[in-house]
């Protein structure tokens, strides 16, 4: 193993890791937003909204994320959507993970005992008041861990943005392989950095989860 080479390219990988983190944060925010809206629509009283959300979920979970990224980035201009690779990657992956999060959030909401809603409604609270004050606070605790699973899958998924030339970890590894012919070192380095990012996020999720349980 060429340790000297690893040291030499490290700064570029650190920078790439930072790009992966930025991608992850933005994607997570977009994903959570889509997930929250999707779950709300899935649970809506209006059949149209339920339909739209169900189609959203099955389309985005039923096709490869890579294809979704390609369609937006390469196919977008054909239908008048011109995005730089960073935006296209973030949006495609965010909307993709949002479909998974829709189901996670919906599942957590549905897992709250029906008796809770009944008790609140019986006191005279409206649907929305009941959702906000009784159901969501309980569902929120239950969704922390599964959303954490979605988020770490999503961080790994950012590697799929490499093919459209966003200079993140996977792209950077591939670029250096082109000039160094050392795939083992390069992929190892990027793998380790992915692992560190996912580990830190995982610890954060666990901490949140534990705090939510105590209070």
């Amino acid at each position: 193993m060429d340790t000297e080479l690893i040291l030499r390219v490290s700064p570029f990988f650190i920078e790439a890791a930072w790009m992966t983190i930025k991608l992850s944060i933005l994607t997570a925010i977009l994903g959570l937003t889509c997930g929250a809206l999707g779950a709300a629509a899935r649970l809506s009283r209006l059949a149209v909204l339920r339909w739209i959300a169900a189609i959203y979920v099955s389309v985005f979970r039923g096709t490869p994320a890579l294809i979704q990224i390609f369609i937006l980035y390469f196919g977008g201009p054909q239908i008048g959507i011109q995005l730089d690779s960073f935006s296209a990657g973030t949006i495609a992956l965010g909307v993709n993970i949002g479909a998974y999060m829709t189901e996670t959030i919906r599942g957590a909401i549905l897992s709250v005992d029906k008796g809770q809603t009944e008790a609140a409604r019986t006191l005279g609270m409206s649907r929305w008041e009941t959702m906000r004050k009784v159901v969501l606070p309980q569902a929120a605790r239950m969704m922390i861990r599964p959303l954490g699973v979605n988020i770490s899958a999503m961080i790994k998924g950012t590697a799929l943005i490499a093919p459209i030339s966003v200079v993140e970890l996977t792209y950077t590894a591939q670029r250096f392989i082109g000039s160094t012919y050392k795939p083992f070192e390069m992929f190892l380095l990027s793998g380790i950095l992915y692992m560190i990012i996912i580990y830190v996020v995982g610890q954060g999720i666990s901490l949140l989860d534990r705090r939510a349980r105590i209070t």
């Binding site: 005992d113 008796g115 809770q116 009944e118 008790a119 609140a120 409604r121 019986t122 006191l123 005279g124 609270m125 409206s126 649907r127 008041e129 004050k133 009784v134 606070p137 309980q138 605790r141």
Partner: protein, 253 residues
């Protein structure tokens, strides 16, 4: 309308899909009256109780609280607003307590009054203390429900319902989920409400309790009221064969 009782149910029928669960039920409960509903499992007792506050709306028939029809046909929005309004007057206690586990006892009791009646924090706290004193649990005000025994949970649930100052209280097997030795403390709270002339409709499997607290007993079977009358008559001298059969099984225990 003349001779309006406090709670009136007229020609009530209810189906879940093809399954008819209630048929042609009529019931008038006077102010301050305590009515027990007894009957075998699946006879529709819970459904009838839940029809009163629109948790399980009737398929046909009418439910009135004083001069207000609870199950009015209204456009969705107005119906929601109407139902939310009338439910404030109808307290309900469930078999499984349904306390809000993420809130303290205080939070459980004050949530609805603060939200729906705009009570200040100070007033809400006072209200919580009052209601807890009633059920003898003042010292538990800052506990979470998970730290309470079943009997204590149910007493908090009663306090939570009473905090809305309801006109009528509905109990659906309030003691059925409790260990035997915890039943009495909940029964005592209910007896105390009876002494305060709270109007109550109580679904129960406890015949002794029904006999000692209630003014009237309804025996239901297969979605109909088979027989009703004062406890002395229903328990000691029922007219209907079905009532006798049911009581034979339940009184011998």
């Amino acid at each position: 309308m003349t001779d309006q009782a406090f709670v009136t149910i007229k020609n009530a029928a209810k189906s879940f899909g093809k399954l008819q669960v209630l048929r042609d039920i009529n019931l008038s409960v006077e102010r301050g009256q305590i009515v027990a509903i007894i009957g075998p499992s699946g006879s529709g007792k819970s459904t009838l109780l839940r029809a009163i506050n629109e948790l399980d709306p009737l398929t046909s028939g009418e439910v009135w609280l004083e001069y207000v029809q609870i199950n009015k046909t209204l456009p969705h929005r107005q119906h929601e607003a109407h139902v939310n309004q009338v439910r404030q007057n109808i307290g309900m206690v469930f078999q499984h307590f349904n306390l809000f586990p993420h809130l303290t006892v205080r939070g459980n009791i004050t949530l609805a009054p603060r939200m729906l009646k705009g009570l200040s924090e100070a007033d809400a706290n006072k209200l919580a203390e009052e209601q807890l004193a009633k059920v003898g649990l003042t010292e538990k005000i800052d506990e979470h429900p998970s730290r309470l025994s079943g009997g204590q949970k149910q007493r908090v649930a009663i306090a939570r319902a009473l905090a809305m100052k309801p006109k009528v209280m509905l109990f659906d097997e309030a003691t059925s989920a409790l260990d035997h030795e915890l039943v009495e403390e909940v029964n005592l709270v209910m007896k105390q409400l009876a002494e305060e002339h709270m109007t109550m409709i109580i679904v129960t499997h406890e015949m002794d309790f029904a006999a000692s607290v209630c003014d009237r007993v309804l025996f239901m079977d297969q979605g109909v009221v088979v027989e009703e009358g004062p406890p002395a008559v229903i328990f000691q001298n029922p007219k209907e064969e079905r009532t006798r059969n049911f009581l034979r099984k339940h009184l011998s225990r």
